[in-house]
Amino acid sequence: MAVEGGKPNPIEQFELVRFFEHRIGDIEVSFTNASAYMLLIALVLVGLMVFATAGKRVVPTRLQAAAEMLYEFVAGMVRQVAGEEGMRFFPFVFSLFAFVLIANLIGLFPYTFSVTSQIIVTFSFAMLVMLIVVGYGIYRHGFHFFGLFVPHGVPKPVLVALVPIEIISFLSRPISLSVRLFANMLAGHITLAVFGGFVALLLGAGAWAVLAPVPLLAITALYALELLVACLQAFVFATLTCVYLNDAIHPGH
């Protein structure tokens, strides 16, 4: 949390900083702090998975137990939501869930950058999910896939209004999926920064400094909440991914 000109700025934490500037034609592809954190997240994830399971012990080490729990948790979720057939998407869902989870958790450390509070990142993930859903649905069911937009047991005249609504509802999925994760992380981080700003302002306000520990206590409580939100939102993102993949596998309902 930076204090600029005596006033705390809760938005400053989301600022992109270019580490190396680079352009391909008119498109800027600079290596930013967001890129650096995504690289870090990928390294942490690969490190956890590769090193933790390298031993393959029957009685797992702590790290191996964590990796196994993560695996079983996601596998259980995929099976439950998308069925046994959904397990062919397990590698994708697992990578997505683990990446979002680690991104959310890393973002909780003070002075770090939270990748998932950038709408373009969450929207890219959501579009990836949707492209896979549409691509696999059409590959698997052909034209039948579009039966997804036609609800069963509805009289024909109602369909005229209902089909466009279903299509808009389908198109809104990537937006709602990405906005949900992004808004949760953004709101949480801004709240934390604002309360942090209160502490700084109170400390600088003479006798009012006595009250400074109050927002500090609130931050402590909020941190627990944010930890929960970080895990919950990664879970929600992965669950909804499974729900949508289920539509691609069984478009009948």
Binding site: V59, I175, S176, R180
Partner: protein, 157 residues
């Protein structure tokens, strides 16, 4: 890990599994012990009978494991933090918000595109914004129904 031990079981057909109690399955060591402890040695030599015995044992193990899973799920449900009500409420609120707003945005975007392509300004926007709002309500309705179904399933379970 427990499963790995059990997966290995069919290969050790000659090993007699003693009748399992649920307590044995609460610890990995218990499973290893249960799977390897020699019980009665009166094994039949008839391969078909042996196979049937193995199947029966596997079925029993499967049952015990399922009971354990159910127990663990129950425990996990109990342990789930009580103080999370606020976080759940916030996430539910943002879910409804994003579902509704997303549909309206998509409706507006489609309407604008239709106007742009056909020059029917402003009727594309009017019609599609209405459809978008309807889709938003439809999204929220579906979300609420899913929530209600989950709650019901939880209440019964």
């Amino acid at each position: 890990m427990v499963r790995a031990v059990l997966d290995g079981l069919p290969h050790c057909g000659a090993i007699r599994v003693k009748p399992l109690s649920l307590e044995d399955l609460t610890s990995p060591a218990g499973i290893i012990f249960a799977a390897t402890a020699p019980g009665s040695l009166g094994m039949s030599d008839d391969p078909e009978k042996k196979d049937a015995e193995l199947q029966a044992r596997l079925a029993k193990l499967d049952e015990a494991l399922k009971a354990r899973d159910a127990r663990e799920a129950e425990r996990a449900a109990k342990v789930s933090p009580q103080g999370s009500a606020f976080a759940k409420a916030m996430s539910a609120g943002l879910a409804v918000f994003s579902e509704f707003v997303a549909a309206v945005i998509v409706g507006a975007g489609l309407g604008w595109l239709v106007d742009y392509w056909t020059g029917a300004k402003p009727w594309g926007l009017v019609v599609f914004l209405g459809l978008g709002a309807a889709a938003g309500f439809w999204n929220v309705y579906r979300l609420a129904m899913r929530q209600a179904r989950d709650d019901q399933a939880k209440g019964e379970g």
